[in-house]
Symmetry: C2
Subunit: 319 residues, 2 copies
């Protein structure tokens, strides 16, 4: 039931998705109500005064993406990442540069502090390399510190970086060389339009894509009140396994990851621990086809591994 969009359909999807005040949830509701993005765009003036971007602007964006070897995947298309498609309101469109096939493989998110300790960076890189050797793709946010170490560890085996801004605006500057390496060997994805510079408010969506792409979110080192902690909690709400590497109670940089474990996250020390905690494999199966689009909208389901995995349910009960 998946299908590939024509260029006019893709332009209509992008215009609707990028209309001010139309978030993913509204997008999916409009699409379900009007059955196509073009029909929803036609009806839009009757139900809202929001103006969609010009057709030509989106056409230019598609051309610019194509010229850098990137694609704009719609969530009904066969190449769209299957776990992400199972979210309540998946990003309607995801720009992908690099190896799009990586998005089909089972993935694990490794995240943590920008100001991570040397030990945390070493641990992140080692765990990423070991997860890669075991066949998992490593997803992270290309931030300084733990994120960068995770990407580096999995560069040869498969890593996906999720940007908060457009694909033409990789961030931060320190990681531009790493960004080029990921483009060459892995994949870089973003929900943001081409040309968009990341703002602080874009990071929660970026984080929900990191966890949405992944079977589990693993926090390597995080202080209390850190972004990693927010991501981990949101990942739990998405039904993802949440895991954390512990640290000394005397080290404030580990207080957030220790707090997650107190709240029910699985304590992990290695890639083996992560793989063991993924459980009986019931949750590990990644569909070779994304969910039929109609089911996403009408059933409004979430990936429900909670009923199968005691670890997921433990996490769920404790929050």
């Amino acid at each position: 039931m998946t299908r590939t969009l024509s260029r006019p359909e893709r332009i209509a999807w992008a215009r609707l998705a990028r209309t001010p005040r139309i978030g993913p949830l509204t997008f999916h509701r409009l699409l379900a109500r009007f059955t196509s993005a073009s029909a929803a765009l036609e009806a839009l003036p009757r139900i809202s005064d929001a103006k969609p971007p010009d057709q030509s602007r989106i056409g230019d964006e598609l051309d610019a993406l194509e010229s850098m070897g990137a694609r704009l995947l719609a969530c009904c298309e066969p190449d769209y990442p299957p776990l992400l498609a199972q979210l309540d309101a998946p990003p309607p469109l995801l720009a992908v540069r690099g190896d799009v096939k990586l998005l089909k493989r089972p993935a694990i998110a490794l995240i943590g502090a920008r100001e991570g300790s040397a030990a945390a960076l070493m641990l992140a890189q080692q765990i990423a390399a070991d997860l890669g050797a075991a066949g998992y793709v490593v997803v992270s946010g290309m931030a300084r510190g733990v994120d960068a170490a995770a990407h580096k560890g999995a560069l040869e085996t498969g890593t996906v970086a999720v940007l908060a801004g457009g694909l033409d605006h990789p961030y931060p500057p320190q990681n531009l060389k790493l960004h080029e390496a990921i483009v060459a060997k892995g994949a870089v994805v973003s929900e943001a339009p081409f040309g968009a510079v990341a703002r602080a408010r874009d990071f929660p969506r970026r984080n929900s894509i990191i966890s949405g792409l992944s079977r589990a979110v693993v926090v390597i080192e995080a202080a209390l009140r850190s972004g990693s902690l927010i991501t981990a909690r949101a990942a739990g709400d998405q039904g993802r396994d949440v895991m954390a590497a512990p640290g000394s109670p005397l080290d404030p940089r580990a207080r957030g990851s220790n707090a997650l474990i107190k709240q029910g996250a699985t304590l992990i020390e290695s890639a083996d621990d992560i793989i063991a905690a993924l459980g009986d494999g019931a949750c590990q199966r990644v569909r070779s086809q994304p969910v039929p689009y109609s089911r996403i909208v009408t059933l409004n389901r979430r990936q429900d591994c909670r009923k199968k995995s005691p670890r997921c349910s433990r996490r769920h009960q404790s929050t």
Copy 2:
């Protein structure tokens, strides 16, 4: 229903308890069957060829204990520590030197590596001091490292050291000054006869008294295959809460405490965490009177806080 033994009764208890091949379980069975230790001693030649020690030898031991200001408490007596009395087979006799009243107060065991890191020793001492300030007695084994740090932290508020050898043979030599301080301000207890030098095989019993005296056993730092881990697992079997302070996955000295958390022990970072994990107070109540002796023997009960505390039951389910 508790009662204080006369000197002849105490001598009979000690002779029976120190007969070769009569462990605590057999002792309690014989006492239940023959209703008194003297009667059991009289019947002994008919059922076993084991020889009890001479009456005069035990009399000398009582005199020696008394001359150092110590007492030999029987598990039916009102001063015997109440939580210890609730074990399946409590030590029939416990030699106590120092402040016997400490044995009535709610206690928490803090144990850990002899070769603990500087951070672990600092943490143990701080947690012990904070537990003391909150009204808890700190129990440990007077070993080097974490044990000694725990005793030091709680020296002013109340600490109990459990020895594997007799009260006249404190061990190790490095801690003799600490031992004198605990005798003066806290309490030192032992199940071993006066004059006994600790052998390796005496430590498991010593450890079961550490946990038996305590509401919870907290492991501060322990490697895999360490004595602290064995103690913690045995404590779980006794129905005690098991807690552990985490450490970096890259530090092999923390691998055992991290393993305990993976197996269901509560992750703690502070005395506050420990007190919070003790739960609703249902388990915290320490009886002002020990359990009637007849009930100990006939019901063969264990302190069943598991049904009340979700943390206890979680630990129980996961082992």
